[in-house]
Assembly symmetry: C3
Homo-oligomer: 258 residues x 3
């Protein structure tokens, strides 16, 4: 099983081409799209999407991720194995959040051109390096065959929550297609708080509790929930919080006791 | 064979995550996307898309549909079987149009948590309830195992055509990605009319006949056809009728004899 | 293996319906989406996407392409075989670029209704003709069974590069989802030039060399590369050249020695 995640969008045949490359190497490979709607060059959004997807796949899955503004430059193409799962992509932090909670990874620099397409373009390593490596890996080629082991890989610094005496300050780190605002404040950050009597402030809007679901509020009223990624989310019932609140990635979110 | 339809869009990995959940339960399941471009929370659009898709799939197909503004609230998660086909989704009318012409359905409330993901979120039942139930069903688990049988499920009221002596008044009920305007006037509603001499009016535009195809008109001229869903459609040759006519869902369409 | 390419977009279930039709005929068929994001009715964009995708698929692949403004009119539905690969779609030039470099094709007019869906709509031959023909072909039905052989099919005239003594004038022929500008100037057109000392002009912008990769420039500065389709491309590092330069299909691109 091979998954694909990218910022390629849906206008072009680039994802389809990667699937052709995989099929030429291994006709039996199953390929699943995670998403190709990551905003262009947004490595953090890609890293978060990969982190919250990978755990739902069977052990042994090969995850290929391509958000790669440095393609053709100095950044290395990598294969990382941890706990029987595989991650393939550029060494720019994209893979790092998915590996954060896993056992010590084994990192391979994909330096062996035997498993690359020839000629190798400088603009589309998804087609020329990552797809064929994933396909050969799915056939059982040993990880060591793809290149030399390396020690380090780029770690993305996810924004941290700041704690003070009676408050937490986090930020919006992801906005989904519904316009729901995902924060970096996790469920466990709120364990010691009373969910029914908090104040959650983003921009001009203050919400007074963490609700059990979206439906716990009138249409068009802000609602705060713990969402499917286990983080505090600000949403509007049947509307886009992004558009209605004018919110954007990086906006501060403050949680205070009352 | 499992199909997926939703309003999740293409920005996020939510659909990919559902496929991971399915693959963990049944690696052999084939999954086909109907569409994930249903407008957010638009239950009627989702219900119509499902209705006009399901008939083209093999008997025994499991259709999972998630347009679910009430997720986490009181609405029930359902599995409905009719005539050897299966429909899984929220009890909000989304499944009802696809079942309208089928034999009496068997309806199960998905109340057995054995087949749900734990913990079950309040915001993503596609991942936590509908996908795993579809996967276990594809493995052959009996429908009765998923919960208790219920009698009723929510029926969507599709807009009706109003007939007068020499005219029909319908409305625009679906607009496709080309900007073509689908009405609720069906081919059989027009049987007694002379297709070559009608007047079809939407907004300021009047079209004088039902044409055999889109090509039966000059570029940029309105054309009325019976489309692939068997309904009267107003289109512009090589252009978007939605944009050019400023049309929207619910706009009245009048057909009169001449 | 069957691929699908269209201008259907992602809002509607039309692509999913085609997959249902295929599954009813051949449950074992593997279906891969090339893209469904071709701009509506843009036959040239579809033809280029198909041309640059097909070569990456295994021999014997069946490519179904539907950008079909003339559906239901006089244009013929075709099946074209060349070199063991199959192309199915309307006779409007869409298939022609993919066949340009291949051996003499065998062309079949899909006139045998045995392999079409009944009733056959006038608006959706993807569902009613192209998908079932692809599915029966994947089962091993002989090409001759689908209709009579014909000699000619519509050839798309791709824009040509104009050469003068010390310059080439081409044009923008494709713009990808990143806003990168693909020209019709091929790598071999530049063989005799010194890549480090050229002037490449599009609109008000002049770039002074062909770079080895996107990263060879400051953020927001124009960069020219030979891209994954083997053509000269103008891009902006981490930005959209389309938006920032106000560029569009058909804009002139001039390459001159210095």
């Amino acid at each position: 099983l091979i998954t694909l995640l990218s910022d390629f969008g849906y206008k072009d045949p680039f994802v389809g081409i990667m699937k052709g490359v995989i099929a030429r190497v291994n006709r039996m490979a199953q390929v699943v799209d995670l998403t190709h709607g990551i905003p262009p060059q947004d490595i953090l959004a890609g890293a978060m999407a990969l982190r919250h997807s990978a755990r739902y796949f069977p052990c042994g899955t090969i995850h290929v991720a391509v958000v790669d503004p440095g393609v053709g430059g100095a950044r290395r193409p990598l294969l990382i194995e941890s706990d029987g799962n595989y991650f393939i992509g550029p060494d720019n932090g994209l893979l790092s959040l998915a590996l954060a909670d896993r056992p010590a990874p084994r990192v391979i620099h994909l330096s062996n051109p035997t498993y690359h397409l020839e000629p190798t373009s400088a603009t589309f390593h998804g087609r020329d390096i990552f797809a064929p490596v994933a396909a050969y890996l799915s056939l059982g080629v040993a990880t060591a065959a793809f290149g030399e082991a390396v020690e380090q890989f780029v770690q993305l610094q996810a924004p941290q929550v700041i704690r003070s005496d009676r408050a937490l300050t986090g930020q919006i780190v992801y906005i989904d297609g519904f316009g729901n605002l995902f924060t970096n404040i996790q469920e466990q950050d709120l364990l010691e708080w009373e969910r029914e009597s908090l104040s959650i402030t983003v921009g001009d809007v203050t919400i007074c509790r963490v609700s059990p679901s979206y439906t716990d509020g009138d249409a068009g009223t802000g609602v705060a929930v713990i969402n499917s990624w286990g983080v505090l989310e600000i949403a509007l019932n049947n509307d886009s919080a992004e558009r209605r609140l004018g919110a954007k990635i990086g906006d501060r979110v403050r949680v205070a006791g009352t």
